[in-house]
């Protein structure tokens, strides 16, 4: 066991030492089911797939993921335990990745907890389980990208509320980037190259592709690149101002 896995283990179990884990999982399950059945018209559509389930994940993650990520570094900075953590003989990357991977695994666990929906759809019809698996993968990758953003924002401030809001806003921008209302706003005054870039940044377009069962390399690269980028920014932020 190396330093990274020890930190993952500690971080992961710390979720369950407080009510946070249980509240999060409960809220996630209740809301994802409610959205699927009421707003998504799961029955009325009469199709055996989980699109109505996955379609709401970006919106659900917009406020649930910041709630998980806001404490990652803010809390350490506020209580001063960051001083303890970063004077242990580990690298800064061990600490950053340990926290991130534990959070990602935790969200993954919540996602696994939605399996009754998968059972229901299999009971009701013959869905394409490969596509459903891809949908789960896409949702998990998206949560990873959101969490990486949350890590970075949490590293910037001692205040968890600020971390929550900054993460929510950044994620909202990335979700909305592919929507006409945002694109129309930029269309008239930015060069088409920038407009393409904004569209390309959109989480939604990459997520929708995967949730329909198409695991394209570009989408995978997009999500992993997001995680690498934001974790790298976390590293920069902590190296520069961990002590403030």
């Amino acid at each position: 066991m190396n330093a990274l896995s020890i930190i993952i283990k500690r971080e992961f179990s710390s979720y369950f030492a407080t009510p946070l884990a249980y509240v999060f999982i409960l809220v996630f399950l209740v809301l994802s089911s409610a959205f699927t059945f009421y707003l998504g018209q799961f029955y009325e559509r009469g199709q055996a797939d989980l699109l109505p389930f996955f379609n709401f994940h970006p919106w659900l993650y917009l406020f649930l993921i910041p709630a998980v990520s806001m404490r990652l570094w803010s809390e350490e900075r506020k209580t001063g335990s960051i001083e303890l953590l970063l004077t242990l003989p580990i690298t800064l990357w061990d600490a950053i990745l340990g926290k991130f991977l534990a959070a990602w695994a935790f969200v993954g666990l919540a996602l696994v907890g939605t399996f009754p929906i998968w059972l229901s759809v299999n009971y009701l019809g013959q869905p394409d389980n490969g596509a459903i698996l891809a949908g789960y993968m896409g949702s998990w990758l998206m949560s990873g990208a959101f969490l990486a953003i949350g890590c970075c924002m949490s590293a910037l401030t001692k205040n968890q509320i600020i971390a929550f809001i900054l993460t929510g806003i950044t994620c909202l921008f990335l979700v909305l980037a592919g929507f006409p209302m945002v694109l129309n706003f930029f269309e008239s005054w930015v060069p088409s190259l920038v407009l393409d870039l904004i569209t390309g940044l959109s989480i939604i377009s990459h997520f929708i592709a995967i949730s329909k069962g198409v695991l394209a390399l570009t989408d995978l690269v997009y999500f992993f690149a997001m995680m690498v980028l934001w974790l790298y920014l976390t590293h920069l932020a902590l190296a520069a101002k961990a002590a403030d």
Binding site: S81, L84, T87
Partner: protein, 310 residues
């Protein structure tokens, strides 16, 4: 051996630590003394590798804290100010985590946890969550994690701050009981602590060392070092004052309320007490009170830190 040379830390326009240099060898308990905001904690944060110095070097047993941070950090244990830890964990889980991060596995890990638990007497609360513990116990948990790998170097930032007198005593006993092969650096603004545990004291003010001496050496700088207070039955304090002023060892005499006469020695002389005793025997005085002063540390502290700020 810890070597600190020309250490500087700047936060924007503020210079928190300004060209600090010193060396400490094994068997020393070094006290960092200084007013709040003098740069004690900042210096400790640089020695432990939490903060990167703006310039200057720190080496711990030959390992540079910036270039070979992890190698240096394996040799040291650190209690940050306020003893922060992961409060949602139980004491046992927390200590196990620290032991594992520091490389202990299986039985070695359990031995480390056991040893640290016993050193700071945590056995009773081992399965309690840290957040439920009293301040004194929390501080002990912080000390336990700093000690767990039996490091050569211990850096303790205000280890007794906020503790009650009994707890302070325990922590000091513990620091004293540590192997005399270690280097211990503690920061404090409590002066009695310096004489209680330190073998050497650095007074820091405005990020600079203003005094580097033993606690005895510090006392020797006090104005009342080796001064003698006395009270004689049936003798007017004024008459006593005149009699004392005749002594060659006497610099000046003060009379306090209640008639206590304090005789201050000529700087450098050490025979004042003896001379006074001879005087007393000679005159056949009935002495009600006789006391030699060691020197007030807080006076020295105030004197040197205020001088430095001027």
């Amino acid at each position: 051996m810890i070597k600190v040379s020309h250490l500087v830390k700047q936060f924007g326009p503020l210079t928190a630590v300004n060209d600090l240099s010193f060396e400490v060898g094994p068997g020393t308990v070094l006290g960092f003394l200084g007013p709040n905001g003098a740069g004690k904690s900042t210096t400790m944060k640089m020695i432990t590798g939490f903060l990167t110095p703006s310039s200057g070097q720190v080496s711990i047993h030959g390992h540079d804290i910036v270039a070979a941070r992890q190698a240096a950090q394996t040799r040291l244990g650190y209690l940050p100010e306020g003893a922060p830890c992961y409060e949602e964990m139980t004491v046992k889980n927390f200590l196990t985590f620290i032991a594992e991060v520091r490389g202990a596995r299986g039985t070695v890990r359990n031995q480390w946890v056991d040893r640290a638990t016993d050193t700071v007497s945590l056995r009773k609360v081992l399965d309690q969550r840290i957040e439920t513990l009293s301040k004194g116990y929390k501080r002990r948990v912080g000390l336990a994690q700093a000690l767990i790998h039996d490091p050569d170097v211990l850096i303790l930032d205000e280890p007794t701050d906020g503790l009650d007198p009994n707890q302070k005593h325990q922590v000091r006993e513990m620091i004293l009981s540590l192997s005399d092969q270690k280097i211990v650096i503690i920061s404090t603004h409590i002066l009695e602590e310096v004489s209680a545990v330190c073998s050497r004291a650095l007074i820091i003010s405005d990020g600079q060392i203003v005094l580097d001496d033993t606690p005895q050496g510090l006392r020797a700088r006090a104005a009342d070092h080796l001064a003698v207070s006395l009270k004689v039955d049936d003798l007017d304090p004024e008459a006593l004052k005149i009699a004392c002023q005749a002594l060659s060892e006497c610099e000046r005499v003060e009379i306090a309320e209640g008639g206590l006469v304090t005789v201050f020695p000529v700087p450098g002389s050490s025979g004042l007490l003896m001379a006074l005793q001879m005087l007393i025997a000679d005159k056949g005085w009935q002495v009600a009170q006789l006391q030699q002063h060691e020197g007030q540390l807080d006076e020295v502290f105030r004197q040197v830190t205020l001088e430095a700020q001027r």
